[in-house]
């Protein structure tokens, strides 16, 4: 520790060069931190929202096409299906000028808790969701974003149907990433009836299967059952459903991570070059230090410490930048359902520790050879050459 002030003074010797090198390292670390959040964010997002025993069934022609609502009863009747509900996209907006800010669906409340038993929705909320015709269950992300709370009444204007409905929030989906807004299908049906237009279709059916091993055969059975029917169906597990949704993104993330790795390697070379320049400028001074009794190990350690401290401090700065950027991204993306998944990309403590270790490593690797070379130079020869 007694050499620390000496090391720090040397770091401040050429402030501009130190600053520029530190900036390059900080930028690389920030980039790595942000990219490191992506696979973990996608995985955690998929894990948090998806289940292997939950199956989605939609029109084979595409999710935007409807299916007869009567399909729901037929799916429920299949042995092995624990529970099933329908989803009908409502496309409601709080403010039409801002568009649909969160996904909202009309669902069947009776089986909702059983289909989504892993979401840990409070029993009282599920009970109230079944009990009150205008009840709504809202994801915590949307609640926080809009400043809503349980008990509030909110009105959504549909962008799909010519109607406006008011809802009483009776509970939340307790996941900060959850942005969905669910309400009773019956409420929607009654609204349609009031307007003289009955509704007998649905957009999607979600069912829970009792045994993971039976998921595949039951999915085949569902699709077989509706073959040549009014609307043919395509079924897939929830994980597969969302996995496919994000698969292209994962590929891009992989490419970006490779690029980030190459960038980091470039930064190592840049930092090594800076360390070499710094050492080369001080060959005479280093020889003097050796002459007055500084052993090779001490000279090597102090030079290496310079590179490691500079790099680690830059790493701290880069990690903080990435933390700020991801928090900002989280705030921005939580406003739109399309970007909702990105709210899960958070720079975790683990990523921060990894980033600092990486920064330290960059310092050590980049400083090693210049420090070794300087400490091994012959003192007498250097004195002859330099002075």
């Amino acid at each position: 520790m007694k050499y620390l002030p000496f090391v720090l003074r040397n770091l401040g010797r050429n402030k501009l060069r130190s600053l520029l090198t530190a900036s390059a390292i900080a930028l690389a670390i920030a980039l790595v931190c942000i990219l490191r959040t992506m696979p973990a964010g996608l995985d955690s997002f998929l894990s948090s929202i998806a289940s292997n025993t939950r199956v989605s069934t939609h029109n084979e022609a595409g999710m935007v096409y409807a299916m007869p609502y009567a399909y729901l009863q037929k799916v429920r009747a299949i042995p092995g299906v624990v529970a099933a509900i329908s989803w009908q996209w409502f496309g409601g907006a709080v403010d039409l000028s801002k568009g649909v800010a969160f996904p909202n669906f009309a669902v069947d409340p009776e089986d909702f808790g059983r289909v989504y038993e892993d979401w840990n929705i409070a029993p009282q909320a599920l009970e109230d969701f079944r009990k009150y015709r205008d009840a709504a269950l809202v994801g915590r992300g949307t609640l926080e974003k809009n400043g809503w709370k349980v008990g509030d009444v909110v009105t959504l204007q549909s962008t799909v149907f010519p109607m406006q409905l008011s809802f009483r929030i009776v509970g939340e989906v307790p996941n900060p990433r959850a942005t969905q807004f669910y309400f009773q299908r019956e409420y929607l049906v009654q609204a349609f009836q009031a307007s003289g237009t009955p509704i007998d279709s649905t957009g999607m059916i979600w069912s829970r299967i009792d045994d993971p091993d039976r998921v595949e055969p039951i999915m085949r059975q569902i699709d077989e059952m509706f073959r040549n029917g009014e609307a043919e169906t395509a079924s897939e597990t929830e994980k597969s459903f969302f996995g496919n949704f994000f698969s292209s993104l994962k590929g891009i993330v992989a490419v970006i991570q490779i690029v980030a790795g190459i960038v980091t390697l470039c930064i190592v070379f840049i930092a090594a070059n800076t360390a070499s320049m710094s050492v080369r400028e001080r060959v005479g001074e280093i020889a003097i230090l050796r002459a007055i009794g500084f052993r090779r190990k001490i000279v090597f350690s102090t030079l290496l410490a310079e590179a490691a401290i500079l790099s680690t401090l830059a790493g701290v700065a880069g990690a903080l930048v990435s933390l700020g950027l991801t928090l900002m991204l989280r705030n921005l993306t939580s406003s739109g359902p399309q970007l909702g998944p990105l709210t899960g990309f958070i720079v975790t403590d683990t990523i921060l520790v990894q980033a600092l270790f990486l920064a330290f490593l960059i310092g050590i690797v980049s400083g090693w050879l210049p420090a070794l070379g300087a400490s091994r130079r012959s003192v007498a020869q250097t004195l002859r050459e330099v002075f």
């Binding site: 007694k2 000496f6 040397n10 002459a291 007055i292 009794g293 500084f294 012959s378 007498a380 004195l383």
Partner: protein
């Protein structure tokens, strides 16, 4: 203090062999002020490096302060230099980012002294060289003569018995050169230091006890300097 017996040093420069020292033997008693003189390439700096433990001879024996330097490892030589030898170089060679007192304190980092003790000793050394008031100044804020005084303070701060100086007046004007030589003699006279300098400066002759002439790696002659003649005269 210094016993050098039959020392030779050969450098390889490309395909050529440079015989910097050839069978040089030398004895310097404790408390003497000695100047190594001779033309460029005569081997005087090599001899200084060898007796200060900076360079190893190819042949011969070097004993300084009772320690046989030939037998010491690199780390042991570093330790020997840290405790036994103080260095002064022509171009002052202070660390530019450290203040004068911090430069003087530098060799003490290698000791077990506390921070306060290190600072106290550094300030004492600066007081001895007459720069007590300039401790906080960076090297660039000091004149050439003052920088060389700081370098001398750094050389004596560990209380090394031997002070070696390579052209200590080479980059100074006449007045400052005289002051530095006077200071070195004071170190010898008042503190009992053994001082060996390499110099081209003929003014040095009147301050030193002995002048040793070298040429082409050979020790040509040893004769008394002005310092000894003064003593003899008095």
């Amino acid at each position: 203090m210094i016993d050098i017996t039959n020392v030779s040093r050969v450098y390889q420069r490309g395909a050529d062999e440079i015989h910097a020292l050839e069978h040089v033997s030398l004895h310097v008693s404790k408390g003497r002020f000695v100047a190594l003189m001779g033309p460029s390439g005569s081997g005087k700096s090599t001899l200084l490096n060898v007796l200060a433990g900076l360079d190893r001879p190819n042949a011969g024996e070097v004993v300084v302060g009772g320690r046989r330097l030939n037998e010491l490892s690199e780390d042991q030589l570093a330790e020997f230099r840290a405790h036994t030898v103080g260095f002064v170089f022509q171009f002052f060679n202070l660390i530019p980012v450290l203040s004068a007192v911090e430069n003087v304190e530098l060799p003490l980092l290698l000791t077990k002294l506390s921070r306060a003790e290190r600072r106290q000793r550094a300030e004492t050394a600066l007081r001895i060289v007459g720069l007590a008031e300039r401790g906080d100044h960076l090297p660039r804020q000091l004149s050439g003569g003052e920088q060389q005084r700081v370098a001398i303070a750094r050389a004596i701060v560990t209380d090394a018995d031997l002070v070696v100086a390579d052209e200590p007046t080479g980059d100074l004007d006449a007045r400052n050169a005289e002051e530095i030589l006077s200071l070195l003699q004071t170190l010898k006279r008042d503190f009992g230091k053994t001082i060996v300098i390499v110099t081209h400066d003929p003014r040095a002759e009147k301050w030193v006890d002995e002048v040793i002439h070298l040429d082409k790696g050979l020790l040509l002659e040893t004769r008394p300097g002005g310092g000894l003649r003064d003593v003899a005269a008095s």
